[in-house]
Symmetry: C2
Subunit: 273 residues, 2 copies
Amino acid sequence: VEIGGVMVGGTVCRVIESNDAGLAPGDYVAGYTGWQRYATAPAKELRKLDPSAAPLSTALGVLGMPGLTAYFGMTDICRPKAGETVVVSGAAGAVGSIAGQIAKIQGGRVIGTCGSDEKAAHVTGDLGFDAAINYKTTPDYAAKLRELCPEGIDCYFDNVGGEMTDAVIRNLRTHARVALCGQISQYNLEQPETGPRLLFQFVVKQAKLEGFLVFQYSDRYAEGLRKLGEWLKQGRLKYRESIVDGLENAPRAFIEMLRGANTGKQLVRVSGE
Amino acid sequence: VEIGGVMVGGTVCRVIESNDAGLAPGDYVAGYTGWQRYATAPAKELRKLDPSAAPLSTALGVLGMPGLTAYFGMTDICRPKAGETVVVSGAAGAVGSIAGQIAKIQGGRVIGTCGSDEKAAHVTGDLGFDAAINYKTTPDYAAKLRELCPEGIDCYFDNVGGEMTDAVIRNLRTHARVALCGQISQYNLEQPETGPRLLFQFVVKQAKLEGFLVFQYSDRYAEGLRKLGEWLKQGRLKYRESIVDGLENAPRAFIEMLRGANTGKQLVRVSGE
């Protein structure tokens, strides 16, 4: 984002005016129009929403990019088999919360990591994870993971990076799969961190790691949204939203999100309509 | 290896006595019988060799585990497409030398890293790599790789780890594939090394990394040996051997190999027969 440019971000908008036959004033669309009250966009970059099918806000969460990110990372890269052990970092966030629930649907045993006891209770109590680790109060991540995953970790869906990821890598099981979705612990450091060299773990465990961006799956979004929509309707996917009111509060909400203050998808309500 | 136990290692042996119908005294076999003059082994763990097909020593190199390691890592994990840029670390070693030549056969542009000007000349002159980097005399690996691979690195076959691997990761191209075969720079350290955290590179490049052990491909050894044998016969694979005489010199040869003194496969000649 250039200084003075529009900050990027996914949005739900109501159409005011349209030159495209498929969109009429009053229609709701999901797009990527950024932090602004009014925007223009090519119709092909907008996805028309059915407000009767699900709350509009889900188009930015479980039925939007976060849900699709969780879906493809878990089903395409991690691919947990029934009975396998899955760790999800950032488990109370918009992506991790869905990723872990998908792993449960696929029969995995799922451990989530998060940054407060409240989030840990949400992850196990509301979302159905088998266990949660509050990284802020756990002194030895690797020891805790060994305790919770005595046979090792088959799948890791990583949103966070840093020391938790080190600890997971040390506890990978043979033929483990790691999906790298984000490394949020590393984004705002004043000095780049160093860490232990752990690549040899991937050799001895014959393990795979794959970084991904949801956009690489754009030709399969329809499949992902259909599956996520089914699971949501069946009550198998729960979600939370953290909502702040007013576009002027978007910067603060964004910074708080990077600090881990939110649970589930962080949204900014720009208009009550 | 337990103290007092037999040091592990691949061997070519002549059969003295056999209870198996498929092996007769005088036959040559490849096995994994370790550092000893005489050994017993189940026939199913031995591979009968045809001494007229290729020199017996190739069963420990290009037509043995090193060749198979190179073959599966390159053709199954790296999978270079014609015109792609491939980097091989430890390029003058038993595995790297074959891995790079296989990448050339598959149409890749291949850069090897090694530890002396003599090895660099061997890698480009004899083995046909497009370029070589002597890591001992190159001050800035990342800058050198940027110069040699201006569009980024599509495939990396890593035997070495450490700073060279950091530099390669920083120069990966979108959709890159990394095959982790070994991390020889890390094996004999008195203190484990730390390094920069680079996993986010895999996210933004949508890149994959996979560690492997040749044994996981045991049901495809016949395929690998057939292909390697064809390429060898066609003159498309060159190989070198570093040979020391006498079992008593095996420990020194092993230590020198870890230090990078050898070119190609390090062998110990136990008997002239």
